[in-house]
């Protein structure tokens, strides 16, 4: 039994005048501890797919299973990180990171201590009583990561979480997220349009084409890159090979006639 199983997902958006097929026949499987990326141009349905996997959107057809159980029954197994931190400005950092635990009724002294320890581990010691507006973008996104990990989700869904940050912070955060996830043996799905980021962080990349969103190609990242941290992977000679392959494939997709 696979850890995460996406089976034949199809999704259509209905408006008054038209029906638009956003996703067609998406099927993939992920094993525990893997890090996979959904890579594709804007409009290919990656965020829609992520929302479906997160249980926020019901697909028109198909199902998603975590360890054999339907997604709707395993809400607490999913962690979701958005493009921006969306920390609540009226709450302190401490209150913010405990929000998930609070909603799920899992806030105890023990979980609170654990979460604060995680905050320290991630390099944000001493900011518990501060408000989000007093922190930089990178710090806020790190706090958001703690918020997501606090409920101990089995799978992390990352929706372009670094795209709103400056390049330096982005690289640092990529390393941080990658190392933290590896340390806690988390499974992750990253949605991104940044080819380099996908190569640097994942074990496997699913390339999606658009209109309608389909899996065009799957790229297995070689072990030599997988074993490096994202920052080091970018310097590895293999990196440019894969980059070239993916780039060409994307180019082909762009020039294919749309119908």
């Amino acid at each position: 039994m696979n850890f995460l199983s996406v089976k034949n997902i199809n999704h259509v958006y209905f408006t008054k005048d038209q029906a638009k097929t956003a996703l067609e026949n998406i099927s993939l499987t992920i094993e525990e501890g893997e890090f996979i990326s959904l890579l594709g141009p804007s409009g290919c349905g990656k965020t829609t797919l992520l929302s479906i996997i997160a249980g926020l959107l019901k697909p028109t057809y198909g199902e998603v299973l975590i360890e054999g159980k339907s997604i709707s029954k395993s809400k607490s197994d999913i962690g979701y990180m958005l493009q921006q931190d969306y920390l609540f400005p009226w709450k302190t950092i401490e209150e913010n990171i405990l929000v998930g635990l609070q909603i799920m009724n899992q806030e105890t002294d023990h979980t609170r201590k654990q979460t604060l320890a995680l905050l320290e581990e991630i390099g944000l010691k001493g900011v518990e009583k501060s408000y989000p507006k007093q922190l930089s973008g990178g710090m806020r996104q790190r706090a958001a990561l703690v918020r997501t990990l606090a409920t101990n989700p089995k799978i992390l869904l990352l929706d372009e979480p670094f795209s709103a940050l400056d390049f330096q912070t982005k690289l640092k955060l990529e390393d941080l997220v990658s190392n933290t996830l590896k340390e806690y043996h988390k499974t992750a799905i990253l949605v991104t349009h940044d080819i380099g980021e996908a190569i640097a962080m994942s074990d496997r990349i699913y390339l999606l084409s658009k209109s309608p969103g389909k899996i065009a190609k799957v790229f297995e990242i070689p072990e030599c890159l997988r074993d490096e941290t994202p920052f080091d992977a970018r310097q590895h000679p293999e990196y440019s090979n894969i980059f070239q392959q993916i780039w060409e494939e994307l180019d082909n997709l762009e020039t294919k006639p749309e119908y």
Partner: protein, 228 residues
């Protein structure tokens, strides 16, 4: 002095010294505090009632999309219409006592409160709601954790507006039917051409309204100071 020398018309503006004398006189014979207390009581109650009912109505509209679709045109009409015109009807329905005057103070602020607060509820950035949804939050949790707190600024600014509005409602109500209160004193003073009395009442109203406004600002500082 300005009125004594007829620089300003003494009939209409009275003289500060005369107002001061009247103030002391009325305090001493107890009638002033009595009238002040009555109006203050009616206004504060009308204010609180109007704000709470307005917020409650806004919450109900947010909760049920169906209800909000049905009630929306009525809200638009009620908002456009001057609520004080409803005065006589309220008085006939609720009698000439305190209740109708408090209702006047309340009704003037209810509609505006509902509309402003409801709009604020609807305009909360969906991504904040999404954060909670990813943790499996239900509607009630979403309301308490995101919708309500992010609307505090809108609620506070509505409170500030309501301070003024409830005073309008109450004073107009007292104009119409009261035998007590600062509005009553104004009408009485008007009827016997005692403008000193009118001025005294106006000054007291201004002081009380300002104090109420300061009260709301104090509340604002306590609720919002940290995050803004």
């Amino acid at each position: 002095m300005a009125s004594r020398n007829h620089w300003i018309d003494p009939l209409i503006f009275s003289a500060p010294s005369k107002v001061g004398k009247l103030f002391i006189e009325k305090i001493n014979d107890g009638t002033l505090l009595n009238n002040l207390a009555v109006t203050l009581f009616e206004t504060v109650l009308g204010f609180i009632l109007g704000t709470l009912l307005g917020a409650l109505l806004a919450a109900i509209l947010w909760w049920s999309e169906r209800l909000s679709n049905i009630l929306d045109p009525y809200l638009v009409v009620l908002n456009a219409m001057p609520k004080v015109a409803l005065g006589p009807i309220l008085i006939v329905a609720l009698g000439t006592g305190y209740i109708s005057i408090i209702a006047m103070g309340a009704i003037i602020s209810v509609i505006i409160t509902t509309i402003v607060v409801y709009t604020s509820f609807k305009e909360v950035d969906y991504n904040y709601i999404k954060v909670l949804l990813t943790f499996g939050a239900n509607r009630k949790q979403i309301f308490r954790n995101v919708i309500l707190p992010s609307s505090f600024p809108a609620i506070i600014s509505t409170l500030k507006v309501n301070v003024g509005l409830s005073w309008v409602g109450v004073i107009v109500g007292e104009f119409l039917v009261s035998k007590q209160g600062l509005g009553y004193l104004i009408i009485y003073g008007f009827q016997v051409f005692n403008f000193t009395l009118i001025f005294l009442s106006l000054i007291l109203i201004a002081i009380c309204a300002t104090l109420m406004y300061q009260g709301v600002e104090y509340l604002e500082r306590k609720l919002i100071k940290d995050s803004k």
